[in-house]
């Protein structure tokens, strides 16, 4: 039911080593709210070929499916690494399935080589329903005039291409915006809870692109599910990281002459957390298997994984703060870094309540 090839095992090992070496927490702290992405890290990731894993071979990639990225993203999540990696591979994935031949041959080889891509989907009301949007594209001659505002556009300032959702003639379509088509002043940095993320607000007003920049397909559901799978991978890694922070403190801090880990009110929730991690990791690789197989149940598996991990990681982050006492309340304590990451992941592409609601018909209203 869960498949994991030798090839994937090797990638997992490499990724785990790589991220461990790049992930000392001081380095993560140095990157908080940074003005630029870590260029060295980005170069190394692209040198390793990670940006082409899911890109078809004819465009210079490895031609594997998107689920092959999971071990890399899980390892990055383990050490809280931030980078435009996930958005770039997802943009490549989207172009490969929804783009025209010329869009594919123009952009996919570039992404493999390190060109950064990102998405502009969410709008001001924060809705998770991706076709629930107001942004509009109006065609006149061969030009598309965009209006509206997009939020949570990660790494938009360094992205060479942004895929945005807009309504054209009433239908939601995806358009490809190039960096030089965005007037300066249309991008502004957002203050977001996870400071390892570099998030922007993108004002579409005044942006004009060629009508040929509309993607042929507009499979928002694929974008949603792929994004969720990546978030689940980050959360599985993050849960591991935060639990290590908890265990380490419980094994060193003393109160009343005892190590605090000997108190069951800390020990038992920690046991719950390790089991929730085991569950998250299991759902993750099961969902990845179904995606890879093109199985119809992939949607159910991904929503289950997202619901379970969102709740579990946020709980672990919350407990991590509490279990550090006064130190837990400080910026210096690493617990907050994980709690912030957990909340970001929980509220991107739907929290547990949202997905459980969507799972009800999928799980309960069909013949057993």
């Amino acid at each position: 039911m869960i498949k994991f090839t030798d090839e994937q095992s090797m990638l997992l090992e490499t990724a785990a080593d790589f991220c461990r070496n790049h992930g000392p927490i001081e380095k993560v702290r140095a990157s908080l709210d940074a003005d630029d992405i870590d260029r060295g890290l980005w170069q190394e990731m692209s040198d390793l070929g990670w940006l082409g894993i899911n890109v078809p071979e004819e465009y210079g990639g490895l031609g594997l499916d998107i689920s092959s990225i999971v071990p890399v993203v899980e390892s990055m999540g383990r050490y809280l690494l931030g980078s435009p990696y996930v958005s770039s591979v997802l943009v490549a994935e989207c172009l490969a399935s929804c783009g025209s031949d010329s869009q594919r041959s123009e952009w996919l080889p570039k992404i493999v080589a390190g060109t950064i891509g990102t998405f502009a989907l969410t709008e001001e009301d924060g809705s998770w329903v991706l076709d629930d949007i107001e942004a509009v594209g109006t065609v006149s001659d061969q030009t598309l005039h965009l209006t509206g505002t997009k939020m949570f556009v990660t790494d938009a300032d360094v992205a060479d291409l942004i895929i945005a959702s807009v309504k054209i003639d009433g239908a939601v379509r995806l358009v490809l915006i190039e960096r030089n088509q965005i007037p300066p002043g249309n991008l502004s940095r957002e203050v977001v809870i996870d400071q390892t993320r570099r998030s922007f607000r993108l004002n579409l007003d005044g942006i004009e692109i060629s009508a040929s920049q509309v993607l042929a397909g507009s499979d928002l559901k694929a974008i949603e599910l792929n994004s969720m799978l990546m978030l689940c991978a980050e959360m599985s890694g993050g849960l591991t990281g935060v639990l290590q922070v908890i265990v380490e403190y419980l094994n060193t801090r003393k109160a009343f002459n005892r190590l605090i880990g000997s108190y069951q009110s800390l020990k038992h929730p920690s046991a719950d957390i390790v089991l929730s991690l085991e569950a998250a990791k299991s759902h993750l690789y099961y969902a990845a298997t179904l995606v890879s197989d093109g199985d119809d149940n992939a949607e159910t598996a991904i929503r289950m994984a997202k619901a379970q991990a969102s709740e579990a990681f946020a709980f672990a982050g919350d407990r991590a703060v509490q279990f550090h006492g006064g130190f837990g309340f400080t910026f210096e304590c690493d617990a907050q870094l994980f709690l912030r990451r957990a909340l970001w992941c929980q509220y991107q592409h739907g929290d547990e309540n949202y997905h459980c609601r969507l799972l009800e018909p999928l799980l309960l209203d069909q013949a057993v």
Binding site: M1, I2, F4, Q8, S9, L12, E13, T240, L243, Q244, V247, L250, N251, R258, L259, G261, S262, Y263, Q264, K267, H268, S270, A271, D272, V274, L275, L277, E278, A279, K281, S282, H283, Y285, Y286, M304, A307, Q308, C356, R357, L359, E360, L363, L364, V368
Partner: protein
Amino acid sequence: MTEKELVEFRAEVAAWFRDNAPDDPGFLLPETFMEVGTDEQFEFLRDWQHKVYEAGYLGMAWPKEYGGGGRPQILQDIATQEMAKARVPFMTNTIGLNWAGPLILKMGREEDKKRYIKNILSAEDIWCQGFSEPDAGSDLGNSQCRAVRDGDEYVLNGSKIWTSLGTYARHMILLARTSTEGSNKYAGLSYFLAPMNVPGIDPKPIQKLTGEYGFCQTYFDNARIPADCLMGQEGEGWNIAMVTLTFERGATGGQAGGISSMELTVNDVVELARRVKRNGKPAIEDPDVRRQLVNFLIESKSNRLMGVRSTIPALASEWPTAVMMSGKLRASELNRRLSRFALSMLGANAARFVSDEATDGGKWQRGYFNAFSATIGGGTSQIQKNIIGERVLGLPKD
């Protein structure tokens, strides 16, 4: 074995259980091996185990020379899965099959293996477990029941409690104190493969919360057992008991296989939700019920998937023993909460108990009460969480 052979084997077992599933006996069967309370229940279940063994679907991977099948473990795993799927009654000699048996195979003497293993499989000899005492349950190391060497016998005095199958058992795995000296409470404990049918051993049934019977208090009054019942050396009892518990909790393999309870699955509860009404409408249409069912479906899927993932070493987490060490805790707690939730769908009828008027004869209420057998027996859930905290995460002891 090839994939094809395994598929064929699965089909063969499934067909066998379909064709041979016993008819409804006309009386209420127990739900786990810890609840066998009447002679008719016991005889029915013993005969059924015997039949399954004769068909070759129990102890398949145990050595042939002692009565096992000498075949690959994977076949037994498949047979056990199909047994569960077929919803046939459980194997009543669970203590023999899944903890005393593997223990004897691992640590017993050659003559013990020859003497005990086959009869465990065939249900000829039922085994019980004499670990807990009135004042030593979670704190098992505090056991006080005495075994004093006298010539080539040991003389037993004291009592054990919560002895499942105590009145039906021919043998007991017994933890008793041979010495009160020693550096700590564990040092004086010894382990016996003790006969039950000797003068001075008296199992007295105790009524369960459901009103039925199933376990005993076992009294020892100058009971004499042969000295060669001692397993290992005097003073090794604690270590052997710990090995026993790893078999009992499924934390290591080597068991004979077979199911030891009638499993309640989340799909049974979904099915109940479709056919019962809550305030005039099918329960499955109630928003609260729907939400909770989805949560249970996710949790139950988590448990299944953990088992699957744990067979792929590359996907182990940074705490690789967590899945194995938590099986009993996860399954028993889910089962308890699921049964309790099932009651909530019955409206005012949730307040009935076993009777004709109750939904499904009161199966849900009885099931909920019986669910505590596994959250308490074999080490309580609280103790299991300690174990996960300490042995999986490496946290300090209480």
